[in-house]
Symmetry: C2
Subunit: 196 residues, 2 copies
């Protein structure tokens, strides 16, 4: 972090991040149903005015929670370069990871039923996740004109397996299916590298 | 149909099927939230007693609706043998197909949050769907010890793409991702056939 930036702005951003973290924790525990700025303010231990100052509206706050949850579930940053998707899977299948995955699935469920604020936030966040993964795949040699399709199919597979995991499907079968998904991807990676 | 079976039993089964169809239509329009035997009886134009006679409890009726919706969305029967998954995708992406897909996603969402009747029905129905697809894959030459993993990963991918389709993701990208999924499967099929 650049220490020379304006101190007041830093504190402001720091505070904003803390409030968003508390709001996300609220959603992880309570879900998005009946989420209100007043309830979040209470949980986060800040005033309603502070919340409005940082996020303006409930829709804006929900959009940021959505983006944070999707990023937490699907981010490949901070993962080992040599095997990022298995690391992502391991992280998502811990008890803490499953809390995020559960909210992630609930969020996409709401998006499907057309809560406009959520729908827009999910669409924007998923597009960004998909583009980041596509860029990563290009880095591994995936042809650019295939990268978005491959990334979309891969994220769809991961999301489907997340649902399996949380709906009580035999866990061993879900883990085996994940390994099958990764095994197929690795074969493609090898093909892309060979054809470079 | 065997004309010589007991006529009363036939009428009974016929009537039961009609009532289940009407109850499913009710769920397609209204969702599973607030579904009650009385509301379904009203929509289906039968008495509450008739509904109880056929399905005993609301949980039992919901389980049958779940099974019917999953079967309708994921059944490969009645599909052309040479390209069943593309036919399934075409069926699921029509306006009528999307009604089923939407309820299917809503149902799995509820299963995740642990409505016990729904959870059990979804788990049983998904297991059956997966086993049927696995058996189909074995018919296409998939090694038996891989069939369940491949089927699980494939259904996960399809479900994920269904969600993409219904949450307003760029449709062209979703269709391209589906083609990528099928393209990969076809390569595996070719490999399985070659190694027989």
């Amino acid at each position: 972090m650049n220490e020379r930036v304006d101190g007041r702005k830093l504190r402001f951003q720091h505070r904003r991040g803390e409030v968003l973290a508390a709001a996300t924790e609220h959603a992880l525990e309570q879900g998005l149903d009946d989420l209100s700025l007043r309830k979040v303010a209470h949980t986060a231990g800040v005033s309603h005015a502070t919340l409005v100052h940082h996020f303006a509206t409930k829709d804006r706050l929900v959009a940021e929670i959505v983006d944070r949850v999707l990023a937490e579930t699907l981010a490949v940053r901070d993962l080992p370069q040599d095997d990022p998707l298995r690391a992502l899977w391991r992280r998502a299948t811990t008890d803490e990871g499953r809390r995020y995955v559960r909210l992630f699935i609930a969020i996409t469920g709401r998006a499907m039923y057309g809560d406009p604020a959520v729908t827009e936030a999910v669409a924007a966040s998923m597009r960004q996740r998909t583009e980041l993964l596509a860029a990563g795949l290009v880095g591994y040699g995936c042809p650019e004109d295939q990268a978005l399709s491959v990334a979309t199919a891969l994220l769809a597979g991961l999301r489907g397996l997340f649902v399996d995991l949380l709906t009580g499907t035999d866990e061993q079968r879900v883990h085996a299916a994940f390994e099958d998904l990764i095994d197929q991807l690795e074969r493609r990676l090898a093909g892309w590298v060979a054809s470079r």
